[in-house]
């Protein structure tokens, strides 16, 4: 039984009160589905859950009991250099300046360089850290402090070697726009736990995001599963502030007036959609309070702000990480933070200095902060880009480039923490040149399957019917990497 159904089953359509609606319905605030969604979405919801429902965001249980309930995905868009941050290859020092053998580079497509480009050695010193002894570059001093809480995966592989398709592929399992993103799948599968905030929030702190809004689109799923942008300028959520000249009382009066007239109409025409509209206006009103409350970092201690390295007034990656923690605390299901700018076609060392400077402290602080608040166990943190970078140098006088690295889909590093992922583990390995995966390959599909597994889903059974077939995040691929699970 759902709220609307039961309401009308009682035959009292006019007896709809706001309070009843909000109390009885597990309404999420991101978006509320209409009854009409019955046709498409509901005929195709989870196998475990077959009854007709009118609320696409109602909290639901996954296939299996799960540790992770929420996700914070730190998307390092542009693709950081694994060879200078995580995957130390002394062999490259020896080979520096010489081309790699054709047998190694054959068959690989590049964006900018020629396959015979010379090798570029690691740009930074590496050291082992923590009890796990995981190896990290000196560019990640903060991550080094929490290295025993994270799991490094050095053997990730993707199919895409350009940014937009690479990002869209990592998020949606398909290189072209049009399919639901990871966050949408998670919302579709688990529903929302918050009534005061959108359940899937997207922040951006670097340069622009190559893949654009396709990265957080719900694709062919109902638009209620689309990520909502939290913005750095103007209202954090579009139009969340009342217009100039409208005070709180006028806003309340106006909503009451709208509600009154809508209810009168409902009485006459009996369309339950009007009920949904009345509810969404009330939720909008609440959002006008909850959004500023979320953004207000005054209640955070000085110690916390310093831990993240966050200036509460200025948009930054650090502030986004702190906001992400606050969102998680308020029941937001999926948070995406895009930090774009890692695309080091030139001066990879300088690029890493800048970007690690902007992200290392806050990424580590997020893990540490979640852990000490007891949130890490239920929160899966994902860190990484859309692909890696070549062991070969990118140099191009005509483009003014030197000492850079090109796109490399064959092997790169990501890390995950919390949410049922084994801490202190370094998983997978590349060959001596850091070119190919040598051990325990984790294809993007496998990564997606594993992430869904952390959230309690069998990726083969989390399906959505569209255009005559059951779609999956992992298409027809992917296997759960059991060894990553705690």
């Amino acid at each position: 039984m759902t709220c609307q159904d039961s309401q009308y089953a009682r035959g009292e359509p006019r007896l709809n009160s706001r309070r009843w609606f909000l109390r009885e319905c597990g309404l999420g605030l991101g978006k509320i589905a209409l009854g009409t969604l019955l046709t498409d979405a509901f005929a195709a919801t989870l196998r475990a859950d077959t009854g007709p429902r009118t609320d696409a965001l109602k909290p639901r249980a996954p296939h299996f009991p799960a540790k992770a309930k929420r996700v914070i995905h730190l998307f390092m868009a542009g693709a950081p250099s694994q060879l200078d941050l995580f995957d130390y290859k002394p062999e490259l020092i020896k080979l520096a300046g010489k081309p790699l053998p054709p047998s190694v580079v054959a068959g690989q497509r590049y964006a900018f360089i020629r396959p015979d480009a010379a090798v570029l050695g690691p740009q930074f010193k590496f050291e082992r850290h923590g009890q796990s002894g995981a190896e990290l570059s000196e560019m990640l001093p903060h991550l080094a402090k929490v290295v025993d809480d994270i799991c490094l995966i050095k053997s990730v592989r993707t199919d895409q070697f350009n940014h937009a398709p690479g990002q869209i592929f990592l998020n949606t399992g398909f290189s072209q726009p049009g399919r639901p993103s990871l966050g949408s799948w998670v919302l579709y599968g688990l529903g929302s736990e918050t009534q005061d905030l959108p359940a899937f929030i997207v922040m951006s702190t670097g340069a622009g995001i190559s893949g654009g809004s396709a990265n957080w689109s719900s694709g062919f799923m109902p638009s209620v599963y689309t990520g909502v942008r939290l913005r750095n300028q103007g209202d954090p959520i579009l139009d969340v502030s009342s217009p100039p000249g409208v005070d709180a009382k006028l806003q309340r009066d106006t909503l009451d007036m709208i509600g009154d007239l809508n209810r009168a109409r409902l009485g006459l025409v009996g369309d339950p959609e009007i009920d949904t509209r009345i509810a969404s206006y009330e939720l909008a009103y609440r959002l006008q309070t909850s959004a500023p409350e979320l953004m207000d970092l005054k209640k955070e201690s000085k110690e916390t702000l310093e831990l993240y390295g966050c200036d509460p007034e200025k948009p930054s990656f650090a502030r986004a990480c702190l906001l992400a923690r606050r969102m998680i605390e308020r029941g937001v299901r999926f948070v995406n933070i895009y930090h774009e700018g890692w695309d080091a076609h030139s001066d990879v060392a300088g690029n890493l200095k800048t970007n690690c400077g902007a992200t290392d402290q806050a990424s580590a602080a997020l893990v540490q902060d979640l852990k000490r608040r007891g949130l890490l166990e239920e929160t899966l943190v994902i860190w990484g880009g859309e692909f890696g970078r070549t062991p070969m140098v990118e140099t191009n006088a005509a483009l003014g480039r030197s000492l850079g690295r090109d796109h490399h889909p064959a092997a790169f590093t990501m890390w995950m923490a919390g949410g049922g992922i084994k801490p202190g583990l370094t998983y997978g390995a590349t060959d001596d040149l850091g070119f190919q995966v040598a051990k325990d390959e984790v294809h993007v599909y496998d990564l997606q399957a594993t992430i869904l597994r952390c959230l309690g889903f069998d990726h083969e059974r989390l399906t959505y019917a569209y255009q005559g077939r059951e779609f999956r995040l992992t298409d027809v691929h992917g296997k759960v990497v059991e060894n990553l699970l705690a």
């Binding site: 005929a43 579009l238 139009d239 009382k249 009154d260 909008a284 483009l399």
Partner: protein
């Protein structure tokens, strides 16, 4: 369990949920089993994956989708189905088997059958296992509309089908909606705009018979009809104004969008509408409109990210075209067959690529759209430019023949502290303090009694800054204004200002013509920077409007105002005055004399740089991918598929002996982007190219290349970069598109004799950057270098090597106007007496100079060519040329749009089956064709895009008319007769009213594919005109209104929500078509986090209030309001929009600037209206909701108004803030009405069609 698809399943589900009775569809529990309704869905979703059409996936050689196969023994020897004998049928045994190893589907497949489903299969086999073809794959026929018990209700055939069904279900239709509801419904449905209260009243008060039909006809004839229905087509076409992906740059595609609006307004028959969009370019004598129509399939995205493989993304575009065609016309989920044979529908993997092959043979250019209005503006402007250009040689600046005097003792004064020293030549050298701006004042005694001119010379000087003549680092200055005063001495004559009539300079910087110094404005001026100018002696001569005649001695004051800033001041200069004695020869002749003097010098100077070039005819030309076609003029034209590493090889035979240099001429061509000469069309500069490497071999031996030169290169990308070691460097001509350019490469050692010369051009870049058209020339002469001169000028120049010829050319025409277009000039006496010897060189225009007049007239023609060329290069004419350039730049440009262009015969692109749909894995080649389960392409037509287009709308095609009619139905009723608009295959839902859908489909074709006629038919039906109010009982019985016992009621689409608010407030601009616009949206939407940011320059004026379909659509960062209300991003084809209801929508309507502006406008309308508060309330209520308010509603609004008015009056609220203005009377009232309007615009009813 799985929820079964099909209407009955949904109703069943609903019935179960609500505990109500089954609405009347046959339930499988008792009656006969129907193959299509009951059996086929089970087989499709549980069995076909392994026992269906896909041969590769088929297990046990068992195929269940075809009866004859299902009756044959399987691999095991067992008979899967024995009709009438379920106990002997292996299929039945296996589905009921409890043995894990035997049970079907296998437990591992997670496809378990329910007991009901097993029972259905058993009963079906028992009843004879009859198969029926899928309803949608059988050509529709028009069954007579059924008779109904209530004969009065139906108004047309639609109603008979609907009512018959309702009567079967024991239901009754709802009463007819009231007039206001109907008017609003019709307006919103047919033109997408709500009626004004007056329009609604006109209908409500029209009691004459046929009032409703008259309104329908009027709306169908409205030009807004096309706008409303175009937007729905745009969803399918994935229209947007940017390219998508990372860069997401703007594109001009709106001419296609306007074509759609226009076609719909004209009610172009849907079959033509289809053919022109699919293949308008292939129609005989295709018109421009028909070509523009092919933009439908150019709405695909374009990835401009650096380093992508362009062919990979072209493949994706083509795949997208297949999928969109299948969705929009056929209602087929063909996309499934991209990677493998369709699991459910009978589409083979190879058939997917056969279909793709039909669409795979076009090039994809951007073209100009020639429109009459622009052309009418261009014509006179172009004529003026042509005239100016022709007159150029006569514009030679020249006031010589003037007696000049430089005052030897002038006083210098500076306004800002510079000091100056008077030198012996009468010039000043300025030094000392170097202020940003200056005014120099010179005072001296008049040296002449008659003054007609003033000359200012700017003189380079090592002691001035870095060398002068100006005091900036680069030597430039800007003379903002020149002033001159004369004061006669003695008496009390006042100083009088002298007016200048004209100014000429030997050189003016682009944008800084010398006329600026006497235009009375100090924010313009004369400068000498840029190409052709700089650190040289320059002069400007200013002619006085009236000669100054002095009777007595006089003092002259000259002010040089230099207001530009950044020390753009003169460092060394000289001022002289001149007298032009009366009675000198006419100016035109003097100009010509000087010009001819300069021309002669130029000829002599240029002569040594001209080599005698011989054009080579290519014997063959080929490349790695693009097609190279040898043209009649010996040029090579490239087309087809360009890659990031294209290599052209061109071979030449019949060479002269002793070739010492090669000249590469790159040519513009209208078929190329920006008219070429390059083919760059994405990521890099359009129309440019990047020649990374040039290699020449003579009979197989590499020829060393050296001393590269070019006429033009941007930055350091010069021709030398094409022969250096660095493959990443290259020659490019960005900024020089649309013109020919030349590069010359000398041979390190001459090629004495060779059979064949091979030229290999490599274009390697992180984007495709090949040349589009080029020619090769060689010379046997030493020291050849590139010249910017045209081929004919070069040839003429070579003629000048003969002194007689040079003499003739210099002498030809002397004194006769040589303007092109005037009659051929008579050869001069001198030329006639001295014939020029024939040329010995092989170059030239192939003209053989004869004797006497012929030779002379040849010389005259050559002189004209050379003179024109000289006018293009002479620094003295730079000012005149910059004026021409300016006008050229100001020519109104034609709009552009993207089109398909079928490749010429012989250049057919080959199509292969791509293993797993992977671009990198082509398998066997496939021929174009249609899937076998549909009618074949006609045998008597070539299997191509045009034939496919015609096939789509052939009466034999079972799908198109049904799919299109179903989509129209959805637009009016909120759901299709087949609810899965995009899937008419086996997995799609069954139609709720199959006979009605078929009747409509056939009627559509019978009515000549007229959408307007079908729209009229639908809205004329009683079904459509029902009230939408629903009783709890009916809602429980049929929550989705599948049976149509009531009228439609649903939220408007995003654009219509906005259009409604704009119409209600009176702000709407009714302009149709044109470039997309930028209405207000919150800051940062199109820039923040967007890789390709788009500065959202909010439109002002009417463009701020255009209909939603004209809002600029950026794919990676869509317009906020549209996205919030479920509008598409344009990244994928969308058959049906979602209709969500979210708090974010509430926030938009409540708080967004655009809607606030509508509230304000309504507030203003209210306050300006006559009548009392109740009447004002009614006015704005009706503008938003059409119908009159109930008394309660009106009272509530008035009470709300009074309450807010008091708050404004008491200063609790500020009217100025809400209204964003302090001007006007009764601002408090206006503000209070604005708050009322704001509430009204947020009502559910305002944004709902009911």
């Amino acid at each position: 369990m799985i929820i079964r698809r099909g209407l009955w399943a949904l109703l069943l589900t609903a019935a179960r949920a609500y505990g109500a009775a089954d609405p009347g569809n046959t339930a499988p529990a008792g009656g006969a089993v129907d193959f299509l309704r009951d059996v086929r869905p089970i087989l499709a979703s549980h069995c076909f994956k392994c026992h269906g059409p896909d041969e590769e996936a088929r297990k046990a050689k068992l195929r269940l989708d075809l009866r004859e196969n299902a009756l044959q023994p399987a691999k095991s020897g067992e008979l899967p189905i024995v009709p009438g004998k379920p106990d002997r049928s292996e299929l039945v045994r296996r589905v009921f088997s409890a043995d894990e190893n035997e049970a079907m589907p296998p437990p591992a497949a997670n496809k378990d059958l329910t007991p009901d489903q097993k029972e259905i299969l058993k009963r079906w086999v028992a009843a004879g296992a009859e198969y029926k073809p899928h309803w949608a794959f059988v050509k529709p026929s028009q069954a007579p509309p059924p008779a109904t018990r209530d004969a009065a209700w139906p108004r047309n055939a639609i109603d008979q089908f609907v009512l018959a069904r309702l009567e079967r279900e024991g239901l009754k239709p709802s009463p007819r909606a009231d007039d206001y509801t109907l008017a609003r419904r019709l307006y919103l449905d047919l033109i997408g705009l709500p009626p004004t209260p007056e329009q609604a009243d006109a209908f409500a008060n029209d009691h004459a018979p046929g009032a409703y039909e008259r309104l329908v006809d009027r709306l169908l004839a409205s030009p807004h009809y096309g706008e409303r229905w175009a937007r729905r087509w745009l969803d399918l076409a994935r229209y947007a104004d940017t390219n998508g992906f990372e860069k997401d740059r703007p594109r001009s595609m709106w001419p296609w969008r306007d074509w759609v609006i226009e076609a719909l307004n004209r009610d172009m028959p849907f079959d033509e509408f289809t053919i022109e969009q699919m293949a308008g370019d292939m129609l005989p004598q295709a018109t421009q409109d028909q070509r523009v129509a092919t933009g439908f399939h150019r709405n695909t995205m374009r990835n401009e990210e650096g380093g992508i493989d362009p062919l990979e993304y072209r493949f994706y575009s083509t795949v997208d075209r297949v999928n969109v065609t299948a969705t929009a016309w056929l209602g087929l989920t063909m996309a499934c067959a991209q990677c493998h044979t369709h699991k459910y529908d009978p589409i083979q993997h190879s058939e997917y690529y056969r279909f793709l092959a039909c669409l795979n043979n076009a090039d994809e250019p951007k073209v100009e759209v020639i429109d009459a209005a622009t052309e009418a503006k261009r014509k006179p402007a172009q004529a003026e430019i042509d005239a100016l250009e022709a007159a150029l040689p006569d514009q030679f600046p020249l006031p010589l023949g003037i007696d000049w005097l430089t005052p030897g003792a002038a006083e210098f004064a500076s306004a800002h502290g510079a000091e100056a020293e008077l030198l012996s030549d009468g010039s000043f050298r300025v030094g000392g303090k170097n202020p940003e701006k200056e005014v120099y004042t010179l005072t001296f005694s008049a040296p002449l009694r008659r003054i007609t001119h003033l000359e200012l010379e700017a003189i380079p000087d090592e002691k001035v800054g870095k060398g002068g003549p100006g005091r900036t680092e680069h030597g430039n200055f800007v003379l903002s204004e020149l002033e001159m005063e004369v004061q006669e001495t003695g008496g009390d004559a006042k100083a009088r200002r002298v007016k200048f009539a004209s100014a000429e300079a030997d050189f003016s910087q682009e944008g800084y013509p010398v006329q600026n110094a006497i235009d009375g404005k100090t924010d313009t001026g004369w400068g000498i920077g840029g190409g052709g100018g700089g650190r040289q002696h320059h002069y400007a001569i200013f002619a006085l409007a009236e000669p100054v005649e002095l009777k007595t001695a006089a003092n002259i004051t000259v002010r040089l105002i230099q207001d530009y800033g950044s020390q753009h001041t003169l460092g060394r200069f000289r001022v002289s005055l001149g007298t032009e004695p009366p009675g000198r020869i006419a100016t035109a002749e003097r100009r010509r004399a000087l010009r001819d003097e300069k021309f002669a010098k130029w000829l002599r100077d240029t002569l040594p740089t001209a080599s005698d070039w011989k054009r080579l005819h290519p014997a063959e030309a080929f490349s790695n991918s693009p097609t190279l076609a040898i043209q009649e003029d010996d040029s090579v034209f490239a087309s087809g598929d360009f890659t990031k590493n294209d290599i052209y090889t061109v071979a030449f035979r019949h060479l002269p002996e002793g070739v010492k240099a090669l000249r590469l001429e790159v040519l513009p061509d209208d078929r190329l982007p920006m008219h070429g000469p390059g083919t760059i069309s994405y990521e890099g500069p359009e129309g440019d190219f990047w020649l990374s490497n040039l290699k020449v071999t003579a009979d197989g031996k590499t020829v060393g290349l050296t001393n590269a030169s070019q006429d033009f290169a941007r930055d350091n990308n010069d021709a030398a970069k094409a022969i250096d070691e660095d493959r990443q460097s290259g020659w490019s001509i960005n900024g020089g598109q649309g013109k020919p350019h030349y590069a010359v490469f000398q041979f390190a050692e001459g090629v004495a004799k060779a059979e064949e010369l091979r030229v290999e051009l490599t274009f390697e870049k992180y984007y495709a950057a090949a040349l589009g058209r080029f020619r090769v020339w060689v010379t046997t002469e030493d020291r050849a270098s590139a010249s910017p001169l045209s081929n004919e000028a070069l040839a003429a120049l070579v003629q000048c090597r003969h002194p007689e010829r040079l003499q003739a050319i210099l002498a030809a025409n002397l004194g006769i106007d040589a303007r092109p277009g005037s009659s051929p000039p008579a050869p001069s006496e001198a030329a006639r007496e001295k014939p020029v010897a024939p040329s010995e060189s092989g170059g030239g225009k192939g003209e053989i100079p004869g004797k006497g007049g012929l030779a002379a007239s040849g010389a005259a023609a050559e002189r004209e060519i050379l003179l024109r060329e000289f006018a293009q290069w002479s620094p003295a004419l730079a000012g005149a040329r910059s004026e021409i350039e300016k006008r050229r730049a100001e020519l109104p440009a034609f709009s552009t749009t993207l089109v398909m262009r079928e490749r010429p015969p012989g250049q057919t692109r080959r199509t292969f089956r791509q293993h797993r749909g992977d671009f990198l894995q082509p398998k066997e080649e496939v021929a174009p064709g249609a899937p076998a389960f549909l009618p074949p392409l006609p045998a008597d037509a070539p299997p191509n895009r045009l034939t496919l287009a015609r096939w789509l709308v052939s009466p034999e095609n079972p799908l198109t008319a049904r799919v299109v009619m179903n989509r129209q139905w959805e637009a009016f009723f909120g759901a299709g007769i087949v609810r899965t608009l995009q899937d008419f295959g086996f997995q799609g839902e069954l139609p709720s009213h199959p006979e009605l859908l078929d009747w409509l489909a056939v009627e559509f074709m019978r009515q000549g594919w007229s959408l307007k006629k079908m729209h009229k038919l639908i809205v004329m039906s009683a079904t459509y005109q029902q009230a939408s109010a629903v009783s709890p009982a009916l809602r429980e019985r049929d929550p989705l209104n599948a049976l149509l016992a009531r009228g439609p009621r649903f939220r408007l689409e995003a654009e219509l929500v906005r259009d409604t608010a704009l119409t209600a407030s009176g702000l709407l601009s009714e302009k149709i078509g044109g470039p997309s616009v930028y209405p207000p949206q919150p800051p940062g939407v199109s820039t923040e986090g967007a890789y390709g940011p788009l500065e959202w320059k909010t439109s002002e004026g009417p463009d701020r209030y255009r209909r939603g379909l004209y809002t600029f659509a950026k794919r990676t960062a869509p317009f906020a309001m549209t996205a919030t209300f479920d509008g598409p991003s344009g990244e994928a084809c969308l058959a049906r929009r979602d209709r969500s209801d979210t708090p974010l929508q509430a926030l938009t309507l409540l708080n967004d600037t655009a809607f606030l502006e509508c509230s304000r406008a309504l507030g203003e309308l209210a306050v300006k209206a006559s009548g009392d508060d109740a009447q004002r309330a009614e006015l704005i209520f009706r503008r938003c909701l059409t119908r009159p308010p109930t008394p309660e509603e009106r009272d509530k609004l008035v009470a709300f108004y009074l309450k807010q008015r008091d708050r404004f009056a008491h200063g609790e609220l500020k009217a100025g803030e809400l209204l964003n203005t302090k001007d006007g009377e009764r601002l408090n009232e206006q503000a209070a009405w604005t708050t009322v309007a704001r509430a009204l615009l947020n009502l559910d009813e305002t944004i709902t069609k009911s």
